[in-house]
Symmetry: D2
Subunit: 333 residues, 4 copies
């Protein structure tokens, strides 16, 4: 049994806790949250140790699941690594590329599995799309189109500390783009505007964005973001190749279609929001991590993946500011 | 050039006239309608002879297109046949099976093409479904399900002389069933009710019906009718076999989908009514007839097809009255 | 906490056990299976009492979940009822209508909840269809079309004791028809054939069936069955009314569409078989039962529902034998 | 009757000729093609005058339809305008923005209708999408996504004189973008590669492109091009706004879906190529022009629209070369 320490007992933490207790090869060894009540709730629900500190929780575990607030991620990764524990850390590693690089240096030589919470890689539809592409079903992959729109604007308080749309929201799409493309984007173009809520300009942020990536071999990728889709959470991935196309589409809770005097085939709203839409992805991602821990294998979404997606977000910020196609090498340089 | 005499210049007659004038191998030689004004309109539009009688029109032609009212069909078939002209006659041949049999006897030995206007056989989707089944794509055909619902109740005046739902409306589905099944139904069950307009009972008619057919080898077919589908003309054909299924679905004028806070993927209303939905089928059916005339071949929808569909309608009427699975042999005697 | 005795630890029993242990208001008090090993497995997995007899298990519980083989259902219902325990029994109550009637008499006066395992009533899509109809969205309900096809023929051994297609398979559709129609079918027509496996005739059974039901007010229902759909488990419900239509369609594991030189929009296979397709329905049905037990309310799928569906199956058998529209009153006589 | 002179009797010319002869308010007065045989064919087919020169044809007409090769367009527009004839000219006006500007100057003061052949504006689905947006159905329009992929690479000879992907192919999408956005794009980003046929680099051309446009108010538009979609002609327009979304999708010849052991709901290939996909659009566009001529109204797709789309193409070329977000004002200078 893999003993897990869960750090952070908010919405995502609770989801992971439920997955852990159902897993056959893992158990919840300890939970910790700076807000004691949140940890207590999970402790009572699953009858597990509520640790007084992150350090105490880490000490009790084989693997650490970091679901705390973003600014603590890098520190907790370093603490867990120095304690020799396998690590699952929610995205992003940090909002600062420098801090991420420092963290990478700090854990150099660490040889246990470390996985970043890019759950969308584990969504069955998205993964089937990628598997079809890898298997040659669509010939040579030429274009990727990712539509990624949230169902509604997050709170002002959240947005203030989010790091901006590219590091907070698009970072999932940057990771998905890399996962799908199968080669590194070398150039990034980004533009956007505050169309949902023009006052976002006060935060220096935008809520609507269009991004284009280009790889060395010329593969193209478009990402399309909005913070507020009236019709729900919109998550589509289109892979276009020399022999065909696959599209991983949106999901509904069930398949009722309505027909009346004005419309035909009207479907149910989409699953909304990520907790529902990506429920399987969260579970499958954590299960995959547990298998990697058990077999000491490299996970699907690594620390390097976290760093590279952040570099793309940084490049997008620079492109937005300077109105040009920014080379990723300038950022990583 | 095949010279065509068009008898009957109503809605269907006009459609056929437009197809004839565009055909490369045919021309409108003469038109006739007991209502002179209707014939005059087509005569002016296409600059063709307006005959004073059906006989005069027939005499001017190589082929006769009969689109007059049902009670005149059999007489005009006989007149055309005795004049040695190829014949295209709208369905049904007659509402009386005895009259149809008499007509068959009367034209015995007639060796020119005669086609009945079962246009749905020529609908590209329905035909592709049948072609797929014939080509073995779905293995052995086992079940056919036909959904056939009109967008709204016809006028009382029309319904009074329609011959009842099975001879007027379901007869198209009986023909389609035979076309799809590839073998003769030997038993018919039918039930129904006047649900759209309960006062139809005064006419001894119904507006909602469910029919089941069974062939000698046990193949099954269900037909589902309503005189009034609020969401438009509903025309679906499902073929189920040992290796798969094909469904020929409804058609829309274009493919706009709408997404809002309550529905996703809401499509346009269906094409409505048969003039729009089966526009291609009408054209393709008449073109097929013209080719048969040119090559003196047997058409796809023959006099015999017209008679057999009417026998199924008669069997359905008897089943409705007697509440039992009626053998078609009882009807055909 | 509602203490549950689980009788029968096969495939369905295991599913229910998993739901019970996750429920907040229930616990697995005891399990029993004539095959000891099956009970032991669940006992070990969930750390619960393995009873030496059904009676012992019943005595330890507040509610009994009967998932044993069909011939034992009525006896166990009677035993549970006489012990005053709430009852959840898998369908059918018995293959004999006389035995069911006797069971009904035997438990007369029993006032605890008793639910029959007609899980499809709890499928979110099917239920949303019914709720839409009940809410008046489609006006007056006029027609119900149920497509219900298994992905493959069951084993010969299973089929031999199944009671025949109408009591084994269609019984789910009969229940769904009653659930959707909102009034009792008064007449039943059924026909069919052994098209999947002609040797089924040796068992006096069929594998392909078409059924038509009619209610007092003239509402119509068609049920379409096959024991073997090559493309997977096919479960569709269509409700047609004076103002529109709703269709509860099939479900896929995810929404990948494929496009190549010959096809467009090709979807994933359907979820297959009932354990996957109706996973939510099984869970929601049992949760609904637990709420009924907690609040001592009448469940959604009652003993009477079980008896009436069996009567429709019996009527279908008679219709198949006699080739006529059989009145349900003849059966219930 | 509006007398039309058709200049250019190739594929597009023939399509327009067929529309003209069917129009109630127009007739084919004369045809001209430098390749005499092409003109003769149409002349024979529709029994109309075959002119010896463009000038002769123009003199015989009320309106001139220019469907000749691109380099002749501007000259023929000037000739027709100076003769005072209404003008319908296929896109593009010219490959050189300077020549277009000169043409604009040359016809200054011309007050008859002049329409550019941006047929996609008249596609019923695309127009319904725009009408829905204009009617406020999706709230404030925020994003436009245009997918536009040809079914296969044109011939090398064609590509050599095409003017490059942006002026030849994307120009349709630039026009559609302006039509949908309802305000002018002020900045253009473009990137791409020769992925379909790497040897296109020899022509200085690409076959795969991604473009992003931004308007003054921040509205965003993405255009996605490929010269070779294996699954057929891919023409989708997505309009995303504050209250919802509409998508105008691809079209199939009919609606057959296939289900087998590996896929469900597999549809027919898309209509392929523009002659089929945009058949209605070509007809509706020309009919709209004829109404404008009859009523002396300004057409939907004006000379200015032709010039502005070409400016966007020019900006895209500059963006591709310089890797930056190019202001349209730089181009229009």
């Amino acid at each position: 049994m893999i003993r897990i320490a869960l750090l952070g007992c908010g919405r995502i933490g609770k989801m992971h806790a439920a997955t852990i207790v159902r897993a056959e090869n893992a158990e919840l060894a300890a939970v910790y949250d700076p807000v004691g009540a949140a940890a207590d709730e999970i402790g009572r629900l699953y009858d597990c140790k509520v640790a007084a500190s992150a350090e105490e929780a880490i000490a009790l575990a084989d693997a650490v699941l970091i679901a705390t607030s973003t600014p603590t991620h890098a520190d907790l990764i370093e603490a867990s690594a120095s304690a020799g524990k396998a690590i699952f850390c929610e995205k992003p590693i940090d909002l600062s590329l420098a801090r991420v690089a420092a963290c990478r240096e700090a854990i150099k030589g660490f040889d246990r599995p470390i996985q970043i919470g890019f759950n969308r890689r584990f969504d069955p539809g998205h993964r089937a799309a990628r598997d079809a592409a890898r298997a040659g079903e669509i010939g040579d992959l030429q274009q990727v189109v990712i539509t990624s729109r949230d169902p509604g604007l997050a709170s002002r308080d959240y947005l203030k500390v989010s790091g901006g749309i590219f590091k907070d929201m698009t970072i999932h799409d940057f990771d998905l783009a890399r996962f799908m493309l199968g080669e590194e984007p070398i150039e990034v173009f980004a533009t956007g505007a505050a169309l949902v809520d023009p006052t976002l300009a006060e935060l220096g942020d935008i809520d609507s964005a269009m991004v284009v990536l280009r790889t060395e071999s010329g593969k193209l990728c478009h990402i399309n973001n909005s913070r507020a889709a009236a019709y729900g959470y919109d998550q589509r991935v289109e892979l276009f190749g020399s022999k065909g196309m696959v599209i991983s589409g949106n999901r509904r809770a069930h398949h009722l279609e309505r027909f009346d005097a004005t419309t035909t085939g009207a479907g149910e709203p989409y699953l909304n929001f990520f907790v529902e839409r990506y429920a399987e992805a969260f579970t499958l991602g954590l299960q995959s991590f547990l298998r990697c821990v058990a077999e000491n294998r490299t996970p699907d979404a690594t620390f390097e993946d976290g760093e590279k997606s952040l570099a793309l977000a940084e490049a997008a910020n620079r492109s937005l500011a300077e109105g040009r196609f920014v080379k990723v090498a300038e950022i990583l340089g």
